[in-house]
């Protein structure tokens, strides 16, 4: 299980453990690969496509979060092609829903907003789809704004894997996909919800927030959710 392998990330030889993903190895060695759906302590799904990397000998790009390392693997974490695809992926996320930063509780603390700024996204070249989406305010303490959801499924995985309640799921397909609680029940009526709020903390954008916060006021404690799983690993 603890077989050691040597990999190259951006030319640098790094010792890793077989079974680790490219993203895990990169992050533990201070190599930056952007990601939105990845969160430490949760299973990986490869949904956001921001962590795509070039692996030598492989013709297509691979998601770093779901690709395990193996002996001799050589990875490039950045290149003009990767940068252009990452920018494209970010712009498509903005075009898909109504991410109006100016009136968002998470503005200034949002992972999508930060990534756009880091990658020099100054405008979105694709036409916005302006979907008419609901805001679920039925839960007494939390709110779900579908306009700001990027379908990363971090809330789904946090609820299922960390809290063990599995209130959330993704329904529908493609651009029509929606986050649903308990087979389309409003969040406030979901009897399996323990109101722990870990999904809210895991959410990278302002899609999930605690009630009572104004614009730019909602900061999240994502590390707290990751810490829970790392503390349980010893058990």
């Amino acid at each position: 299980m603890t077989e050691k392998v040597k990999v190259r990330i951006d030319g640098e030889v790094i010792a890793a453990t077989a079974g680790q993903t490219i993203l895990e190895v990169a992050r533990t060695n201070n190599k930056y690969i952007p990601a939105l759906c990845y969160m430490e302590g949760l299973s990986t799904v490869g949904a956001c496509r921001l962590c795509m990397v070039e692996v030598s000998g492989v013709a297509r790009l691979l998601p770093a979060c779901t690709t395990p390392v193996q002996e001799g693997l050589a990875v490039a974490t950045t290149s003009p092609q990767l940068e252009s695809y990452r920018k494209m992926a970010l712009e498509l996320l903005f075009a898909e829903r109504n991410h109006v930063c100016a009136v968002c509780v998470s503005s200034g603390h949002c992972e999508l907003q930060t990534l756009a700024q880091e990658h020099g996204v100054t405008s979105v070249r694709y036409p916005y789809s302006y979907p008419r989406l609901p805001v679920d305010t039925t839960h007494p303490r939390f709110v779900l704004d579908h306009n700001r959801c990027v379908l990363c499924s971090r809330c789904v995985r946090t609820c299922a894997e960390v809290e063990g309640a599995h209130v959330w799921d993704l329904a529908g397909r493609g651009v029509g996909s929606r986050l649903v609680s308990e087979l389309q029940r409003p969040w406030g009526e979901a009897t399996s919800c323990t109101s722990c709020g870990k999904c809210v903390q895991a959410c990278p954008t302002g899609a999930m927030a605690e009630k009572g916060f104004g614009v730019e006021e909602m900061t999240k404690r994502r590390a707290a959710v990751s810490r829970l799983t790392s503390m349980r690993e010893g058990e």
Binding site: N98, V100, C104, Q117, G120, T122, S123, Y130, R132, L133
Partner: protein
């Protein structure tokens, strides 16, 4: 050397980006040594003039008048700058886009009115179907997001453009 000519205007916006432009304080003096502001809310010109070097546009394209002005300024200006989130992304004005125009206007001016209910038609331009970012209507050369963009970001962009450089917002890039 002739001075460069700057024009500014706001379409569907809140004037906040122009406030940010005023927040450049004495920084605007250095700009005015190199350029004249020939059109804008504080300039007494009625029509967008010919031969503008830098057009600074705040706000989304939301009405027939917005569209007309955008097309005019594009044909009469060398460089067009989309200033602020409304011009860059549609921002708050675009939040109406999922709602049909008639439903929207009646909700506000009929159902929401306590006096003189009725959708206004005299002296106001017709709304476009959707409020869109400026680049959906005309070619935009420089995008400066922010709600509003910080005064120092505006000064940097103007400084670069007047020196003939392509502006790079770098760490000053910010939405919201």
């Amino acid at each position: 050397m002739d001075k460069a000519r700057i024009g500014t205007c706001w379409l569907d916006g809140c004037a906040g980006c122009h406030m940010s432009l005023l927040d450049t304080d004495e920084g605007i003096i250095a700009v005015l040594r190199k350029a004249d502001i020939v059109f804008g809310p504080l300039v007494d010109a009625q029509e967008w003039p010919e031969g503008v070097d830098v057009a600074i546009v705040e706000g989304a394209v939301s009405s027939q008048d917005d569209l007309k002005l955008a097309l005019t300024l594009r044909s009469r200006s060398r460089i067009v700058v989309a200033l602020g989130d409304c011009a860059v992304t549609g921002n708050v004005p675009s939040m109406r886009n999922g709602i049909p125009r008639r439903e929207l206007l009646e909700r506000i001016y009929v159902e929401g009115a306590t006096v003189c209910p009725g959708v206004p038609t005299d002296g106001v331009p017709a709304l476009l179907k959707q409020a869109e970012p400026l680049h959906s209507a005309i070619k935009v050369d420089v995008h400066v997001p922010g709600c509003p963009p910080k005064a120092n970001a505006i000064l940097m962009v103007l400084g670069d453009l007047l020196e003939g450089r392509e502006p790079d917002l770098g760490s000053k890039l910010r939405f919201g």
